[in-house]
């Protein structure tokens, strides 16, 4: 083990100089992160332009929207002057941007509350609900996916696949009602109503009430991501590096856990990031069903009562969540896979 054999040509570096492009690690992870965050900010800026445009596309403009149908032209003119709506559009946008950045998203028509307050009160609770659903779902889906891939085409794989497809194709509201019927009405295990209260702590103080909403939110994610994980793991089990690992005497179990798992996670994590806005959509149904006081319920009631400022505020929040989701996915991906750090793929 001590004698070094010099590369035979006498020039050990000859291959390094070979024209195969060895990717330069320029700047590494820090630089990747900075670039990616700047990209995300650019997207958020574009989103703000769209939301601003939507605000101005309200029937009769924002003034009519705030003052109502009975407002006189004089009142509207006064309102527009007071709120700078007679200014050039670019200036209006800049001031909208400034207000949005300081958290001022306007007033709700109905709630007698600022949009920021309305959202600020409910967003954490929705984050709690979707966060819990996500964590539970991932903890179940990933092991199930890996297990199915290892046991591919056996009876247990077929059964789990069937279950996943049934769960995936069941509408969330129906699933929720089914769970209420089975676990609450019949078995009496958990309450059918979600915990009420103003803060996250209030909600957390009634964990039993959280079970059914979290479960209802988690089941579709489990169904989706166990499928992703299964196919990703299967792809990786067929890779050459798996054979190399086995050839050096690594036990199959260790091959799966040490080599395959990390490589299989990369595409799944990307999907999880893009799934974040979908989960907000799911929250809409779950919160409605269980009367859970979160963003979904807020969005739902605002949509029913044409409370445009609240609706747009929600749109802005969900858009930002989408951008943050894909940013997080990219960061985790870069941590998992060194090849993506150069921003090459």
């Amino acid at each position: 083990m001590t004698t070094a054999i010099p590369a035979a040509s006498g020039t050990p570096g000859a291959e390094a100089a070979a024209p195969v492009p060895v990717r330069a690690q320029r700047g590494g992870f820090g630089r990747f992160l900075i670039r990616r965050v700047l990209q995300a900010l650019a997207v958020v800026l574009v989103v703000s332009v769209i939301v601003f445009a939507l605000l101005h596309a309200l029937p009769g403009g924002p003034a009519r929207g705030v003052l109502g149908q009975q407002a006189t032209p004089e009142q509207i003119a006064a309102f527009e002057a007071a709120n700078g709506l007679d200014q050039p559009v670019v200036l209006q946008y800049l001031s909208f941007l400034g207000r949005s950045l300081t958290g001022d998203l306007g007033e709700s028509y109905l709630l007698n509350q600022s949009v920021a307050d309305a959202i600020g009160l409910r967003l954490p609770k929705t984050l709690l609900l979707t966060g819990l659903s996500l964590v539970v779902a991932v903890l179940v889906a990933l092991p199930v996916g890996v297990y199915q891939a290892v046991r591919r085409n056996r009876a247990v794989d077929y059964w789990l696949s069937t279950l996943a497809i049934v769960a995936y194709s069941t509408p969330t509201f129906f699933l929720g009602m089914l769970l209420i019927l089975l676990l609450s009405q019949t078995a009496g295990l958990f309450p059918a109503a979600a915990p009420q209260g103003n803060g996250v702590l209030d909600v957390l103080s009634q964990p039993a009430g959280l079970v059914l909403p979290v479960l209802t939110g988690a089941v579709p994610i489990v169904a989706t991501f166990s499928r992703y994980m299964r196919s990703s793991t299967l792809d990786n089990l067929g890779e050459d590096y798996v054979r190399t690992a086995r050839a050096k005497g690594t036990a199959y179990r260790a091959v799966v856990l040490r080599h395959v798992l990390r490589n299989s996670l990369t595409p799944v994590v990307a999907m999880l990031g893009y799934y974040l806005p979908v989960m907000f959509g799911g929250a809409l149904v779950v919160e409605q069903l269980f009367n859970y006081p979160g963003m979904g319920l807020l969005f739902w009631s605002a949509a029913q009562s044409s409370d445009f400022p609240v609706l747009l505020g929600c749109v802005l929040v969900i858009s930002v969540a989408t951008v943050v989701g894909s940013l997080l996915a990219d960061v985790v991906q870069a941590l998992l896979d060194p090849r993506t750090r150069g921003g090459m793929r």
Binding site: S9, A18, R243, P338
Partner: protein, 592 residues
């Protein structure tokens, strides 16, 4: 079928036997019945010997190598025995349970694979991947295993091993990755290393270095090597014994000089005859054709430079390249991977626009032609790609694929009727010697060589004045390659198009082309008549390239290797005909 065992040294048997395969039969269970892969293999590998297993795709050589490590898929049914010497006793891999195999793999026997680009885990550092092999079999602290990994990297000739150990596979070139795979195989000092086509995916110069490394490691550590390869030159370079496989059987087996220089079995002779060598026995056949080269220039590259953008930086792939191809001529464009030869080929097809210089097709600049004129110009260029499987639409009938250029371009400015197209397709498929009815079948029903001939038929559908062939036979077995090249040569003689033949295989280029251009890192190193350039290279790089091509004659290969080492150490003597001794595989040229 009892093949003679390889003992030439006269040691007592069993003592130094590290692998003994007896009457090994492997059958794969598939949806459409059982497919036998191995039928009664007998093979012995002794300490310090290099046994080469040669044969074409489907001959069962890879199945044999995988069975030695018990790595066959679960659809394989195995009878017979595969015994490995472990300490004083023989352990039968064919009958071993999985945990027993886990104990044997890496410690007693290890493996080097064909594809260094995918054989390593992309998300684990090189050091950890080597250390894992150590930790699998030895109770040592992790830090000690890491140190061993660095030591192993050093021993396989990787510069800066400490830094490399912390890097990931994508940061290394293919040749270096193969060195890492070898380091993993060496980690626990196994008695036997199985290497399955370890140099097939590498450039010739890198291949020569890897073979040198394997030869020295085997000699130094007294390890045995079971080498699976289709390349007779590689066999001549490194093997002490050869087993020739065909259809799951060993058809000939013996010491390397005997098998390569005085083959007994018909199939071995066929294999050896199909190997294109540098230089071939005679040049007369080609000289006749050189006279048929007209003075009309079909392709003219003038100072062409091509750039790629990589991470926002411009990387020059081709630098101020001048080339001409005349009608009726074949120009070989050779170079290692990354030399820019394929990029240059794409520019000739109008697929890439040069950043400097111009590409003239039949005297017209490709870049300046627009619209209909451009389409008509490009109709005069045919192309054949490397991968015959991927370059045909799997959902189109062969006839449709071949007819497609006719449907797009018509002929002489007019559309062809369905009947005319059909007649032309039949004519083309006849020309590439495909059976009647081939046009009504799908690509997957054909073998690789047949598919490449379909590609050739499609390329010639419009009677192009120029054919660009980018590594057309690199994915094929030698005997199939010989067949495809013969078709290409005949059609070239008959139709008189100019041909740009891009290849890394100097033997093929030498047999086929009239003139050759050598590329290195995007620059033209040397060009001229093929016989002159290969016979007496003016540039050191060309000489090194030529000396790196192994020849299937053990004695000649030893000389060639020595010449290469002289070249590499800077002693520029004997660059010329004497570094490339002729007569490949000529019986009687000395059983050294």
């Amino acid at each position: 079928m009892s093949a003679p065992t390889s003992g030439t040294g006269g040691e007592t048997p069993a003592d130094d036997v590290v692998l003994r395969i007896r009457d090994l039969n492997v059958t794969f269970t598939t949806g459409s019945g059982d497919v036998p892969a191995l039928r009664g293999i007998d093979l012995e590998v002794r300490r310090g010997r290099v046994v080469a297993l040669v044969g074409e795709s489907g001959s069962g050589k890879s199945v044999t190598s995988l069975s030695v490590l018990g790595l066959l898929p679960s659809t394989a049914r195995i009878t017979g025995s595969v015994e490995l010497a472990d300490g004083g006793r023989l352990r039968d891999v064919a009958a071993a349970a999985e945990d027993e195999l886990v104990d044997l793999r890496g410690r007693v026997v290890s493996m080097v694979f064909q594809e260094p680009m995918t054989a390593l885990n992309p998300t684990m550092t090189l050091g950890d991947q080597i250390a894992e092999a150590v930790l699998n079999h030895e109770r040592v602290p992790r830090a000690a295993a890491r140190e061993r990994a660095v030591e192993l990297l050093r021993s396989v000739g990787i510069p800066e091993p400490e830094r490399r150990a912390r890097q990931y596979p994508h940061e290394l070139s293919g040749g270096q990755r193969q060195r890492v795979v070898i380091a993993i195989a060496l980690a626990c000092e196994p008695r036997l290393i199985v290497a399955d086509e370890p140099t097939t995916a590498l450039d010739v110069t890198v291949q020569a270095e890897i073979l040198d490394l394997l030869r020295e490691l085997v000699a130094q550590r007294d390890t045995a090597l079971l080498l699976v390869t289709h390349n007779m030159g590689v066999v001549a370079d490194i093997a002490s014994d050869v087993a020739v496989m065909k259809g799951g059987r060993i058809v000939e087996h013996g010491p390397v000089e005997q098998v390569l220089l005085a083959p007994e079995h018909e199939y071995t002779r066929t294999l050896l005859d199909a190997v294109p060598a540098v230089p071939p026995a005679s040049r007369e056949a080609r000289v006749r054709e050189v006279e048929r080269v007209s003075s009309e220039v079909v392709l003219d590259l003038r100072g062409v430079s091509l750039d790629y953008r990589v991470q926002g930086r411009h990387v020059r792939a081709v630098d101020a390249l001048d080339l001409t191809v005349r009608a009726g001529e074949m120009l070989g464009l050779v170079g290692e991977s990354g030399s820019g030869k394929s990029t240059a080929g794409r520019a000739c097809l109008g697929l890439l626009a040069p950043s400097e210089g111009e590409v003239l097709l039949l005297g017209t600049s490709v870049a300046k032609a627009r619209g209909r004129a451009r389409r008509r110009l490009l109709a005069d260029v045919g192309v054949v790609f490397q991968d015959p499987g991927a370059s045909l639409d799997p959902r189109k009938l062969v006839g449709e694929s071949v007819a497609e250029p006719l449907a797009i371009h018509g002929r002489d400015g007019r559309r062809l009727s369905a009947a005319e197209r059909h007649a032309r397709v039949r004519e083309l498929l006849d020309a590439v010697r495909l059976p009647a009815g081939a046009e009504r079948r799908y690509p997957h029903e054909f073998s690789g060589g047949q598919r490449q001939r379909i590609g050739l038929a499609r390329a010639l559908a419009l009677r192009p004045r120029l054919l660009v062939a980018d590594e057309p036979t690199s994915a094929l077995d030698v005997s199939v390659q010989a067949e495809v090249l013969q078709v290409l040569r005949d059609l070239h003689d008959e139709l008189g198009f100019g041909c740009l033949f891009i290849s890394h295989d100097l033997g093929v280029v030498h047999e086929l082309t009239d003139r050759v251009a050598v590329l290195r890192a995007g620059r033209l190193v040397e060009s001229g008549p093929t016989a002159d350039v290969f016979g007496a290279p003016r540039e050191l790089y060309t000489a090194e390239l030529l000396a790196s091509v192994p020849t299937p004659d053990p004695a000649a290969q030893r000389e060639r290797r020595a010449a290469r080492h002289r070249l590499a150490s800077g002693v520029v003597v004997g660059v010329g005909p004497d570094t490339a001794p002729g007569s490949s595989a000529a019986p009687g040229s000395g059983a050294a």
